[in-house]
């Protein structure tokens, strides 16, 4: 039960456009683009790193070693 609650709070945590914009230079926030490499190369939010859906499992730990790291995740559009 407790685990599920935690899971739900995590799932529903969002970041607003304004906050993201304001924190573009904040190194405490890692921005993750989950689109495929090609789409990422065509254009992405500045400073974001690419972790496509296919790679997340294998590469996430390597790119973001700290599990408590604050992460903003986004993809193409409203989802």
């Amino acid at each position: 039960m407790a685990m599920e609650q935690i899971h739900n709070t995590i799932r529903h945590s969002t970041i607003s456009h304004d906050e993201l914009r304001a924190r573009l230079r904040d190194r405490g926030l890692v921005i993750v683009d989950v689109m495929p490499k090609e789409t990422y190369a065509e254009g992405h939010i500045p400073r974001s790193i690419n972790l496509s859906v296919a790679e997340i499992e294998n590469k996430a730990r390597q790119l973001i070693p700290n599990l408590a790291q604050e992460i903003a995740i986004y993809c193409a559009g409203p989802s």
Binding site: E70, G77, S79
Partner: protein, 311 residues
């Protein structure tokens, strides 16, 4: 997805790239980078890029551009005419000053056109400071007229390119549909053999491997079409492709379940299936395709479920 890996502080930017672009925020283009690299200030400055007035004008639509060009010519004509009235000297035709009546106004407009088009017959000439105006008009006229011409030419080019994109796209979609159907037929016969013989004999296994390879290639094509193309498939086409994809995945899952039970080992097959699962998952992933067709969510969810069972 990151949460499942143990990350505790993940926040979702719901609007995504579409929202980001709507707010006209800066966008970076590059090759994928790692965290280490992003620590260096490699991003483009956030300040908007300086744009010259010429670039702004060149981006105007064609009609506005022509309107601006004609307007400029008239304004300059009026300036030449007024100079004649206000200061008593303005334009001169031969050795006679141009009059300040209506006829003179006509001459001024005529001179303005001849200057803006850089024809410069020389039958009417500007005097004194008006020469500076005439030079400025000549330069501006040339530049703007150049923009008009290039717009006309590139518009035709753009139409053509869009047409080519569209036809190629439809062509590829058609091919994908046909191929998926072939894959399905092939999987069906493998399934039949499997039902008859229990396990998969070597020959049938080879056939399954080859079908899986073709299937994988088709999925790659669909993936590319959805994520990279500049044309969007209509919902109907996407629906039929997704339906095909689903039945193919369905029978592949069934074959695979039986195969694992009867321990038919094949490294190639395993790798192929993993890759198919991954691709199918991305095709119906959280991202791009749902922007195209939100109504197709249900079949996408089913495909994802199948893909998970496969991978």
């Amino acid at each position: 997805m990151l949460e499942k890996l143990g990350y505790t502080n993940v926040r979702h930017y719901v609007g995504g790239m579409a929202d980001w672009l709507d707010h006209q925020c800066p966008v970076e283009e590059s090759q994928p980078t790692s965290v280490g690299q992003t620590a260096s200030p490699s991003t483009r400055p956030l300040a908007t890029r300086h744009v010259s007035w010429l670039e702004i004008v060149a981006n105007w639509p064609l009609q506005r551009l022509i309107g601006f060009w004609l307007g400029m010519i008239v304004v300059f004509g009026v300036v030449y005419w007024f100079a004649g009235i206000a200061m008593g000297w303005g334009l001169q035709a031969g050795s006679v000053p141009v009059k300040t009546d209506l006829e003179g106004f006509g001459t001024a407009i005529y001179f303005s056109f001849v200057t803006a088009l850089s024809i410069g017959y020389g039958d009417v000439i500007p005097l004194g400071a008006l020469r500076i105006f005439a030079v400025i008009e000549g330069i501006a006229g040339l530049l703007i007229f150049g923009c008009v011409i290039s717009k006309l030419v590139s518009r035709r080019q753009e139409d053509l390119t869009a047409e080519i994109h569209r036809t190629t796209f439809e062509d590829r979609l058609d091919r994908v549909r046909t191929n998926l159907h072939l894959v399905f037929t092939d999987l069906g016969s493998v399934q039949q053999l499997q039902a008859e013989q229990g396990a998969l004999p070597g020959q049938v296994l080879r056939r399954l491997e080859s079908t899986v390879r073709v299937f994988r290639g088709e999925l790659q094509t669909i993936h590319d079409l959805l994520y990279r193309s500049h044309v969007e498939p209509d919902e109907e086409t996407l629906e039929s492709i997704l339906a095909n994809l689903m039945i193919c995945l369905q029978s592949l899952v069934e074959i695979n379940t039986l195969r694992s039970a009867a321990n038919g080992q094949s490294m190639i097959l395993d790798a192929g299936l993993r890759s198919i699962g991954g691709l199918a998952n991305e095709i119906c992933g959280e991202c791009v395709p749902r922007v195209y067709a939100p109504a197709l969510k249900e079949s996408m969810d089913q495909i994802q479920e199948l893909a998970r069972r496969l991978a």
